[in-house]
């Protein structure tokens, strides 16, 4: 067994890798010297991988406060001639949208790549956005890999392309690339280390109106050159079959599904195929050659008809009359699969699938009602559950004073705490995007008479939570803003942030206190609570809601997963709780029906605690009306 790692300079050797590790490896091979990111599924492992080897590779790696800053950090390095990478999930690109749209006017000196990790089927996201449209809007070329191996190769090459065309590139990954796994053949690691130098060049770097007009023309010119070159890139491949009636254009990962579907159907030598690795700009000559050689076209791509619509334009401009299919046969909703592609091909060719999908669909429908509902939920001992329980109790008390039928409103945020929107906690009420809970609260209080209690995670607070706090102070919004501070970016894998006192590479740094920041923003009611001290927490939240004007509470407790991990390291034992069956009332069910800790279970009508899973937080003991929950002796 060879001991290969992500930094082994062993060209030709094979390593089994997660897609995001392979992407990181590509950046290492390219000699990237600056990598900045904000965590977001399915992109986080790229920067985590880079951070872990930052010292070995002499790379600067940071978790930025948000994607806008991350992109600006990378852009600055590129302006100074150093290769730089900014990674984010698809919705993160929205946060970076502002600098991005003007960065393409500047282009790139050191290779510059923005990675967008799109999430078809929204496995871990608030939408199914197709980020390629953002690139199109900004004249930014897009690379989209068809496999984990190609993801590594493309990422390594992206920086060469960026420097060759003096332009930034977008790398579009999808969940099944980033969280795919494959054997990967390694390439050579660049030994080049550059020293950044800033050359004053205001006519290029100060985008004042006069310079905008000139730089816009230069940007369009750069993009035209890329357009001419993409037909020759190895990522776009045309395979024409003599006499083929059907031609398939498959972009990115859908190429893999298409290859598999064609093999299945025994059609791999009967259908012409164009593999697309650059959905923007499209290799127009290759597209035309395919259009001219077949009677019908099927475009296969994840999410929107981005390639399809461009192909239709190319066909129209070149006056090629061929029927072009795409999203009429390949679903626009959800992620693709070999099955979906097979369905589209059988629909067009009349060939028969070797697997009877209809029968399997029926089996799936019959089985579904038997299955327990198993959504992701807050962990045992999660401090958010205690905070959210306290918020509910306190806000309902205050709501009574507003009127008989008044219920409190809970805008929520992108966080583990979102998971509690289902029974039994059923909080938050609305979740939109990073930072939106405080923003929505600012609006809700203008039109509704009810207690408005917004909750947001600590990492999100640093990301985009501060402007709406200032807005609430400035515009005198009567709302309560609660920061659920578990001292980690927990949902994406416990990355550090400005409140933790550590950087991405583990160096100690200034630890920012959320309470200090909101006080400096002018909030007059600021309290820090421990959610595990439930009585005090409820009382303090109640006071905050009754306060006239914006109030902030920081509910602080370390993420239970980190806490348990550290406890094990220290050799500390967890003492679990149990339910005294003599005291427990069969009819009560408060702990099960209102709190919902996964370690509290029902067995033969009795309520019990799973002692192997209980973390000993003791919050359930505080809510039990019969004092039946006790710590084991």
């Amino acid at each position: 067994m060879k001991n290969l790692t992500i930094v082994s300079d062993a060209p030709g050797e094979k390593l089994f890798m997660l897609g995001n590790e392979a992407i990181a490896r590509g950046a290492i091979e390219a000699g990237v010297q600056v990598a900045a990111a904000y965590p977001g599924t399915p992109s986080s492992e790229i920067t985590e991988t880079l951070a872990a080897v930052a010292k070995d590779t002499n790379m600067y790696v940071e978790w930025s406060t948000n994607e806008k800053v991350a992109f600006e950090v990378a852009l600055a390095a590129s302006i100074c001639g150093v290769r730089a990478l900014a990674c984010m999930k698809h919705v993160g690109v929205n946060v970076a949208h502002d600098p991005l749209m003007t960065a393409s006017y500047i282009g790139a000196k050191g290779g510059l790549v923005l990675l967008s990790a799109d999430d078809p089927w929204a496995w871990s996201s608030q939408n199914e956005q197709d980020s390629r449209y953002i690139a199109q809007q900004g004249y930014i070329p897009v690379l989209e890999p068809s496999s984990v191996q190609e993801a590594k190769d493309m990422m390594a090459d992206a920086f060469n392309l960026s420097e060759e065309f003096k332009h930034l590139f977008m790398f579009r990954s999808v969940t099944r690339i980033g969280h795919g796994r494959s054997d990967v053949v390694l390439g050579e690691i660049s030994k080049e280390k550059r020293k950044g130098s800033f050359e004053k060049d205001p006519s290029h770097l100060v985008l004042a109106p006069r310079e905008v007009r000139k730089n816009r023309a230069l940007m369009v010119e750069r993009f035209e050159k890329i357009k001419e070159a993409v037909d020759r890139l190895p990522y776009n491949q045309l395979k024409l079959i003599n006499g083929a009636k059907l031609g398939i254009i498959a972009c990115g990962l859908s190429y893999s599904y298409t290859l598999e579907a064609l093999k299945w159907l025994g059609l791999d030598d009967q259908v012409s195929m164009l593999k697309i690795g650059t959905p923007h700009p499209l290799p127009a000559e290759l597209v035309k050659r395919l259009l001219n050689s077949v009677e019908e076209i099927l475009v296969v791509e994840e999410l929107e008809p981005f390639v399809e619509n461009q192909v239709k334009v190319i066909a129209m401009e070149a006056d090629i009359r061929v029927k072009i299919h795409g999203k009429d046969l390949v679903p626009v909703i959800g992620e693709l699969s070999t099955r979906k592609v097979t369905d589209a091909i059988t629909n067009l060719t009349g060939s028969k699938s070797p697997v009877n999908f209809t029968q399997l669909d029926k089996l799936g429908e019959e089985t579904a009602p038997l299955l327990p509902w198993r959504p992701p939920i807050l962990c045992t001992g999660c401090p958010h559950r205690a905070s959210q329980y306290a918020i509910k109790v306190a806000s309902r008390r205050v709501a009574k004073d507003y009127g008989k039928d008044i219920v409190p409103i809970y805008p929520g945020d992108i966080s583990c705490s979102t998971l509690a929107y289902i029974p039994p906690l059923e909080i938050p009420d609305a979740v939109l995007c990073m930072g939106a809970s405080f923003g929505l609260a600012n609006g809700l209080c203008r039109v509704v008479e009810a207690p408005i209690v917004a909750e947001m995670g600590d990492s999100t607070f640093f990301h985009s939570g501060i402007p709406p706090v200032i807005n609430a102070v400035y515009n005198k919004a009567n709302i309560t803003m609660i920061v659920l501070d578990n001292s980690a970016t927990a949902m994406t894998g416990f990355q550090p942030h400005p409140g933790t006192g550590y950087t991405a590479t583990g160096e100690e740094t200034t630890q920012l206190k959320i309470e200090d920041i909101v006080k400096a923003c002018g909030v007059k009611f600021v309290e820090v609570i421990d959610p595990f001290d439930l009585k005090k927490a409820i009382a303090t939240i109640e006071k905050a809601i009754r306060f006239d004007g914006p109030s902030v509470i920081v509910s602080r407790r370390l993420c239970t997963i980190i806490e348990q991990r550290e406890k094990r390291k220290r050799g500390e034992k967890t003492i679990p709780y149990y339910i005294d069956q003599e005291r427990c009332s069969e009819k009560c069910n408060t702990c099960v029906m209102l709190f919902g800790c996964p370690s509290i279970m029902k067995e033969d009508g009795k309520t019990i605690i799973d002692s192997t899973a209980c973390t000993g937080c003791g919050v359930c003991a505080q809510i039990c009306p019969y004092n039946a929950i006790k710590i084991q002796e």
Binding site: F16, S124, R181, R374, L419
Partner: protein
Amino acid sequence: MVKEFNILITGVGGQGVILISELLGNAAVNDGLNVRGSEVLGMAVRGGAVTSTIRIGSEVYGPLIPMGKCDILIGIEPSEALRNITYLSPSSLVILNMAKVVPTSVFIGESSYPSLEEIVEKLSQIANRVIRLKAAQIAEEAGSVMAANIVMLGALFGTGQLPIKIETTKEQIRARFSAKLAPVNIKAFDLGYQTCQQALK
């Protein structure tokens, strides 16, 4: 080289689904095999349903196993195996850990959990064979209840169908665990292997 061999590993967050696929994938690469796989990380892990695919062979391109094309389905949690029934075919094998993990939704009356008999019956209707074992008990016998997932991995090899060498996989286990835990996990692997072989006799 094998053309296509598909393994689907199912369970609940925290049961070690991903570890099994990492060990399998590394072993397969060391054996010079072509490997693809995928899993859902992130939000779906918080106590939710977890699936991971490992696909081996010269004609495997995509990361996902198509419906009806799974060769071996591992259920570290029984209802999670049932949730993936549409991936099975009449030639599939199912290795089922007979230990329920009942989600909170059942206790609050939002859903219900089928009986283990019902799960086995449903899976048996389509699969060639459902091999049942109690992974936690076997793991305890090996020295740690934590090694239940490695028992399942051993059972997977016990089917005798895998294109990966047993010794390569054991090398991966030894490399992955500390000197103290490696022998426990090797034993868990062997006991899982034997249990499966016994069941198939």
